[in-house]
Amino acid sequence: MVRLIVDSVEIDVPGEMNLLQACEIAGAEIPRFCYHERLSVAGNCRMCLVEVKGAPKPVASCAQQVRDQRPGPNGEPPVILTTSALVRKARAGVMEFLLANHPLDCPICDQGGECDLQDQAMAFGRARTRFDETKRAVEEKHFGPLIKTEMTRCIQCTRCVRFATEVAGVPELGATGRGEDMEITTWLDQVVTSELSGNLIDLCPVGALTSRPYAFNARPWELRKTESVDVMDGLGSAIRVDARGQAVLRILPRINEAVNEEWISDKARFIWDGLARQRLDRPMLRENGRLRPAEWAEALALAAQRLSAPAGSVAAIAGDLANVEGMKALLDLLNSLGIQNRDCRSAGERPGAGPREGYLFNSRLAGVEAMDALLLIGTDPRREAAVLNARIRKAWLSGQLARIAQVGVATDLTYPVEDLGTGPDILEALAAGTHPFFGVLDKARRPGLILGAAATARPDGARILRLAGTIAARAGLVLHANVEDGPWNGFNVLHANAARVGGLDLGFLPGAGGRDRESIVTGAQQGSVETVLLLHCDEIDGKDLGTAFVIYVGSHGDAGASRADLILPAAAFTEQNGLFVNTEGRIQEARRAVFPKGEAREDWAIFRALSAQMGKVLPYDSQGQLRKQLALDHKAFAGAMGDPAFNPEALGELGPVDAIPFAPAPNFWLTNPVARASRTMVECAAGARRSVSQAAE
């Protein structure tokens, strides 16, 4: 620790901190443009100048470390001044230069109201301009369908260049030219190809990079902000939903160090236009092959009639966007009806039965940074969990995570990956300990593996799960508290969707003698399953359900609704309070930002109403009561700790696996009904396809 005096406040801070951080700890506000905590220090905006007693001129506080400060002649702590006349003059001067070439187009700029330059010019700049000359203008750049550019406004802080290079791992942005002619651009004006590119918009301190879909939609002070969590992937990134009236107008990240730091994927950020399209806003039922609007009473009566058929002929599948309360209410209803055919693994994944550790990301997301060796099995974290991929890259960049290997289809993950093979047969060699990478895992102090849940959605999936567990057990990925260096659990299952872990925690799985997802589908084809209830489930091709009567409970007209015989419209994740459990088992609440569309209802309320219709009234009348019941019935929701004797070797089933390669990750942009309803996502997917075909040429 080093002692400093900042504006007469005496503080002790670690020597490796920079002066800017030290000043903030002392409570001083330091304006900045180029400096960002999660990026390398560039020191080029000069806005963070402070006065260091004894230094001949103001110093850039972001680029000076605390330990490099000289004590006074008699050993007094170094003195930093942040409000002296010199500092004020320096800031005003820097601001004057920054504004020299900055256009005065704030009234038509989307950054207006949340612009660092605007705010800091008000706080630290001169009151009037002395600038008489003409300003520069910069040619338009094209950054793709998500980012709107207005490069004349750019102040060359290079945050975007550093983010793309360091965090996103796509070194495509650069600053060409110099001096007044410096411009931020891409090679040959190509589109930025990152799944995290939307974060450039947040990073840009001015209005040079703004959100293209949100352009000219609203001013920040008009928006109602709701803190929520993202459900577009399994990470549960912290988001803020901004709405005006009944329309969600944008989604921004919130900081959650344990999950998403302060990034979110483009899918989380830009699907909001999908929340207003393709919506199911009233109950519908199919008559003579066509869907017609119906009243809730009629729809519920029909649903009740179908569900009271013999339990063996009824099945329910919960999908990727179902919240915990909805699944809990449905599960309780199914239990009261004796229906055992149910599954929440709508894509046919295998992890589920057994202890919670068997399907969780046990090292936790932040635990990736502690790993020194990592094996990816059938997962493409860049597409399945883009923010997690940035964290893996961060761990690799720090030098901590030295060895990363992959079993599966090789893609560019933005860090070097040893390609062990494409099919699960490699896992047998790894499990047997004969593969060289087994030795790497075995020797590592904090080894980890990430098994893509989707990779187990194949006939030999349960056996793949067993092999992954065996590798984890034999290479010492699971260390219990009684072991030296323990406890550590590097056995990680990565779920690519938000609902799954919640469903598994509820035990939304086949009951005694019940059918699982695969068997429900075959049963429907053979006619033995006559009614299938789909809760937010669009992962099953409608054709696969044969002639079964399909009840769809969900928010968007997609695969499920187009096959449905009865539609019960439900609220989307921004329209109801609902719990989601992320892939590491973190229970978080997605909150209501706007009201459900039309006659749509909250998931749990639909099943509560249905239960009343069937005379099997569920024992809760409000969401609060439901949550109390949830904690009583399921220990995962009552803060239960994990299984201290978790043995990954017992997962899945023993048997040979096929050499068929793991399937590549599905199209990042279009993985769920909300994304598929979003024009922005469709445009991105089309753009990605175009650039792939261009690359092939």
């Binding site: 070194p171 942005l173 650069g174 060409t176 002619d181 411009e183």
Partner: protein, 228 residues
């Protein structure tokens, strides 16, 4: 200075390959740096490319990026930062005419007129493909103003007539040795020395104590002998 971009697509060649000798020289530069720091060789290698082609084309930048394992944009940043890298084709002889004050005072404007007359407008390449002329800032040869850098060498103490002659000889395929074009030794005065010619400087008779007229009066020394 103006915004520097890659040349328009119509001017770009289809491909770029290193000539054998540039490749060998590039290899020499590569061995100077550790494998992981190959990018350090980017400026010398871009210079080699410019030596070979006369300018930096898009395929050439791509080739350098690949050779050094750098993203293309990183190489473009460097190529656009340094104005000595030509981003458009230039003639066989690139004339960099110094137009800064000392040269201007000594007749750089007249040289420009000759260039405009014999080659064409600034930045353009002559019809025969031999010459391109540009105006640059001070090249540090002010004592021999006015001057022009032709490719790698300085041609100094020029007059419109001399420049015209140089251009004619170069166009005819002759080699014109660089240096100054009046009778003097490097930057020594023309003909003979004009300063430091007093013989007494060299036999020591000029030496001796001097008294500055406005020097302060000498005070008696302090008893302590110190000054503080």
């Amino acid at each position: 200075m103006s915004v520097r971009r890659l040349a328009p697509a119509a001017q770009q060649p289809a491909s770029f390959t290193f000539a054998d000798d540039s490749r060998a020289k590039a290899q020499w530069w590569l061995t100077k740096y550790p494998e992981a720091r190959r990018a350090s060789a980017v400026i010398p290698i871009l210079w080699l490319v410019q030596k070979q082609e006369g300018w930096l084309s898009k395929p050439a930048i791509e080739a350098v990026a690949e050779m050094l394992g750098m993203p293309q944009i990183r190489v473009l940043e460097i190529a656009t930062f340094y104005t000595m890298f030509n981003l458009e084709p230039v003639g066989k002889y690139l004339l960099q005419l110094c137009g800064t004050t000392p040269c201007m005072l000594r007749g750089a404007e007249d040289l420009k007129t000759i260039c405009k007359h014999m080659i064409g407008p600034k930045g353009a390449t002559s019809a025969d493909g031999n010459f391109t002329w540009i105006e640059v800032e001070c090249l540090g040869a002010c004592v021999n103003a006015p001057m022009i850098q032709i490719n790698d060498y300085f041609y100094e103490d020029l007059s419109p007539e001399i420049l015209e002659d140089i251009l004619k000889r170069l166009a005819a395929g002759e080699t014109v040795p660089p240096g100054n074009f009046v009778r003097r030794d490097t930057s020594a005065p023309e003909g003979h020395a004009l300063t430091l010619i007093d013989e007494r400087l060299y036999d020591g008779s000029r030496g001796g104590p001097i008294t500055l007229p406005n020097a302060p009066e000498k005070l008696p020394a302090n008893a302590d002998g110190g000054n503080g």
